[in-house]
């Protein structure tokens, strides 16, 4: 449920997608290496597609040209298992910010990598 001020965390549906920035040094054979799946502070930072486009996610990087964006399917991320928590970042004005919380060990990183999908095109209003 969306908060009245627009910054209240919401429940993210299983059918949705998250955008993850991947550095070019972590890209191998067209796919991110397992090392791309790591925490920054409280979890692995991603953007919920409801409030971000792949281009916007890329543009939030310090050096956008070094990054590409991949899409993760929320249901598959949760099945790793991982917690998917919408954590809007008011300071950086990023309403899409979402943390993927859980230990990033060898098993979970292999499985997170398998949650990558082709970037879907969000359909407005759905």
């Amino acid at each position: 449920m969306s908060g009245s001020d627009g910054w209240t965390p919401e429940e993210i549906p299983d059918a949705d997608h998250l955008y993850l920035r991947v550095h070019r040094n972590h890209a191998r054979k067209g796919k991110p290496a397992p090392g791309a799946f790591r925490d920054h502070g409280g979890g692995m930072s991603t953007d919920w597609w409801k409030y971000s486009s792949p281009e916007e996610t890329k543009a939030r990087a310090r050096i956008p040209e070094d990054k590409r964006v991949v899409s993760l399917h929320v249901e598959r991320v949760r099945s790793v298992p991982m917690n998917v928590l919408h954590t809007p970042d008011r300071e950086r004005e990023n309403r899409a910010h979402t943390d993927v919380v859980g230990e990033k060990n060898a098993e979970s990183r292999v499985k997170l990598r398998r949650a990558i999908t082709d970037i879907p095109i969000p359909i407005p209003g759905q």
């Binding site: 290496a33 060990n105 292999v110």
Partner: protein
């Protein structure tokens, strides 16, 4: 080529008597490549050396640089297992990708149509290495181990 062989033999003889090292380029041209390591694996071992040149914050999101010691442990792990595998089965080991992992660790990653295996070599030499792999079905290997010793558990995937 005969001149090179003579040259290498001279260096080798000198080496045993007076510890004079021959230029590596001489031996590289004369002696056959190590059969236990495939050409692609040898290339990957060389390519991986670039990892230790990554600076602090190389990914723009606070990544730690990779210590040379971690890299050497990762390369030794791969070489030792490849040599053991060849000695045991007469086959060359599949070539993994050797990549920077989280928190200054190194990932050794095999991925092909038959199986996927990820071995994480930690930055801390006193911590065990960890691994996970499967054949995309019910054959699963996971756990921790001392990367300086041979882990026969990987055979479940390497011989699948």
């Amino acid at each position: 080529m005969p001149e090179l062989i003579t040259c290498a033999a001279r260096y080798k003889k000198a080496d045993t008597r007076a510890s004079v090292a021959a230029p590596r380029s001489v031996f590289r041209n004369v002696f056959p490549k190590e059969r236990s390591l495939s050409e692609s694996l040898t290339r990957e071992l060389e390519r991986a050396r670039r990892i230790s040149n990554l600076p602090e914050d190389w990914d723009g999101e606070g990544a730690r640089p990779i210590d040379g010691d971690v890299l050497e442990r990762a390369l030794s792990f791969v070489r030792n297992h490849a040599r053991w595998f060849f000695a045991e089965y007469g086959e060359q080991l599949d070539t993994p990708s050797i990549e920077p992992g989280p928190d200054g660790s190194i990932d050794v990653h095999w991925e092909n149509e038959s199986y996927e295996l990820l071995v994480s070599i930690p930055a801390d030499p006193t911590s065990p290495s960890t691994y996970y792999g499967d054949n995309y079905s019910d054959a699963v290997v996971k756990g921790s181990f001392d990367s300086t010793k041979i882990n026969r558990g990987f055979l479940l995937l390497w011989k699948s």
